[in-house]
Amino acid sequence: MSAHDIENHGRGGGRKTRARDWKRGAFVFLCVLPAFLFLAVFLYYPIEETFRISTTKSLGLGPEIYIGLENYRRLLASQEFLAGLLHVFTWAFWSVVIQLPLAFAVAFLLSYYSNRFTGPLKSIFYLANVLPSAITAMLGKFVFAPNYGMIASFAKHIGWKWLGGVDFLGDPRLAFWAVFAVATWAYTGFPIIYLMARIEQMPKELREAAELDGASPWRYARSIVLPDLGYPLRILAVLCTVGSLKLFDLPNMMTTGGPGYATETLGIMLYRRGFIDWDYGLAAAIGVVIFLLSLLMTAAELSIGARREKIA
């Protein structure tokens, strides 16, 4: 075979490879296209539109007027927005600090002391998570309502007048925590199940070895189980934080963001400004703030976790 032949053969082979690559590329492109189109229409385009509308004075009817960053300036000057911002951050912080340790404790105990009673307990803990928010809010109102609420009735029954007179949902100092308590009950079910799934996948030999070495359940949880749950806990922390930023249903149904702005959230403000006050520009600006904060918090939490893992 002469060099010329080899060159020709090489050329033909290259052409064939290129054609094959092109076909493969086209196939991949066609496979990805429906998903990309779906995302473009239902995710990227709405995001772009939200950014655009946030720079306009838009009432939904009539023309949109470009006003630059005026809506953002209005937000920063708004007492309601600042209250909402503070509440979602407070909510996110306490969700991570209270809900995740609580979920870990319950998940560990249910797994460690697994017996015929823990099965139904799992369902009971998860039940609140599958209830529609409207039902959860109604139950929350029923628990905390003054006069006829569960706490008020119980307090009256045992003669604790001081407790019966506490207005959990109407007192601005207590309303946030009353709603948060309901949310903790409702939202802790998912992390419990999620962490249990991971704990139950851990090799049994680890526990046996720990027990042989005389490790107490607490020591086993702290030194073996918890380090293994770093990644799931990080994911849950991200979900808690992003969920807090988007928070709407429970506080809206339990207190409408009140009394005053005591339980106001960015989600409630967005809904009210957009759908009640028709101020779509301002509502879009709130949407942009929620989007950017979610992005920022997710990136920060994941990168901090990844760095810690790398160091470890």
Binding site: A145, D167, L169, D171, G258, F275, I276
Partner: protein
């Protein structure tokens, strides 16, 4: 035989074609409403309207879609904004919200067709925007004082003739262990009714002047009304936990005789007259005037459309059918089914004593001020109810909060001219 088969086939095809063309000619009206037309007492009118209209006009197909609350308002707003997918007719309270749709060209001007349909002047005004009529309001609600007459009789009390008279009355009720007023301010909007009245009594048409930017919302009438309101709250006239109770709770307080008065809209007449809901004897009274220094009088009434319908531009080609529906909505035949609302149609009698009392308050009204949150531009309505809810917080400086609301109005409606 073959010829006969062909003839039969042709006849069959012609029959199907003629039937389908007749079907195609049948006009379809799409109506968006709030309530399901079921057997509930408060849905009696909508049920009678739909079944009665279909029976009377079999050539018009009616597609009634119940969207609930706030589903109806949310969906209507979004569809009006998009300008497509509009129904032919939608339920509305009229006022500035409907006016916004009219300004955007989304509504059907029916001034010529509806101007002679009999109805109260207030109801017609609510469905009129910039001199053009866009719909009808068969039922109109006025705000007033629901009074537990049983409690009043038991303790020898009577409805005060002046605003100042509420003070001693409420003190007596408190001393007897009864909450003077039920409100439900957790839901933010229920506290507006009393504030509208107090502002009117101090400043007459202050709210109308403020809305048209001839007066500021932190001017003396608004501040005095807020200060009086707050002093009543601080004295416990609204109970120990006014912000922990929603509108439903307020109804329960009245229904169980734990509260003596409820200042709200006459839409509650049916419920307070219903023996399945309450065993208390409840009456409806006009809100009194001030003894001294007042401008507004007892005959100045706050009110709003209770049930109204307007037509959209999408129904332009079906104007006849639309007018038939709206006219039928205002007919005594349909309205007679309603057990508790004040009917705008002459000749329809109230079906219970409380509604009759409310209708009398409405009939004696010299001026009707529309509910502020329906009459003001939507951009300031939720800040308005937020502001009023803050009156209930112990440390609120009402003057400061009204000044904040005024600043927002300057931004959204314009400065005082």
């Amino acid at each position: 035989m073959k010829k006969r088969s062909i003839f039969a086939l042709v006849a069959l095809i012609l029959g199907i074609l003629s039937a389908s063309s007749a079907f195609a000619q049948k006009v379809t009206l799409t109506v968006w409403g709030r309530d399901i037309p079921d057997d509930g007492a408060d849905h009696a009118y909508i049920k009678a309207l739909i079944s009665g209209f279909q029976a009377k006009y079999p050539d018009i197909r009616l597609e009634y879609i119940a969207l609930g609350d706030p589903g109806l308002m949310d969906k209507t707003k979004i569809t009006m904004g998009a300008g497509s997918g509009l129904p032919d007719i939608f339920q509305t309270w009229g006022g500035s919200v409907m006016g916004g749709y009219a300004d955007a060209g989304r509504l059907l001007d029916l001034t010529r067709e509806l101007k002679n349909v009999p109805g109260s002047a207030a109801a017609r005004a609510a469905m009129t925007w910039k001199g053009r009529i866009y719909g009808v309001a068969p039922f109109f609600a006025v705000a007033g004082v629901f009074v537990n007459e049983g409690i009043f009789e038991k303790y020898g009390l009577s409805m005060p003739k002046t605003v100042e008279g509420f003070g001693p009355l409420c003190d007596t009720l408190l001393a007897k262990g009864i909450q003077p007023f039920a409100c439900g301010e957790k839901d933010k909007w229920p506290g507006l009714a009393l504030y509208m009245y107090l502002t009117n009594r101090y400043g007459g048409d202050a709210s109308a002047r403020a809305a048209s930017r001839k007066l500021a919302y932190d001017s003396p009438a608004f501040v005095k009304a807020a200060q009086l309101y707050q002093s009543w709250i601080k004295k416990g006239y609204f109970g120990a936990t006014p912000l922990g109770e929603g509108y439903g709770d307020a109804q329960q307080l009245m229904a169980t005789g734990k509260a003596a008065m409820h200042i709200t809209g006459s839409w509650m007449c049916a419920q307070y007259a219903n023996p399945d809901f309450t065993d208390q004897k409840i009456g409806f009274y006009a809100f009194p005037g001030l003894a001294q220094g007042g401008v507004g009088t007892v005959s100045d009434v706050m009110g709003m459309t209770d049930i109204g319908f307007a037509a959209t531009a999408a129904a332009a080609s079906k104007k006849d059918a639309v007018v038939k529906f709206l006219t039928y909505a205002m007919s005594p035949e349909a309205c007679a089914a309603e057990p508790g609302r004040i009917c705008s149609v002459p000749g329809v009698k109230a079906r219970n004593p409380i509604t009759a009392q409310a209708a009398a308050v409405f009939a004696q009204a010299k001026t009707v001020t529309f509910w502020w949150d329906q009459d003001l531009p939507p951009s300031v309505t939720s800040p308005l109810t937020d502001t009023i809810q803050k009156f209930f917080l112990p440390d609120t400086d009402v003057r400061k909060d009204l000044a904040s609301f005024e600043a927002l109005c300057v931004q959204n409606i314009g400065p005082v001219k």
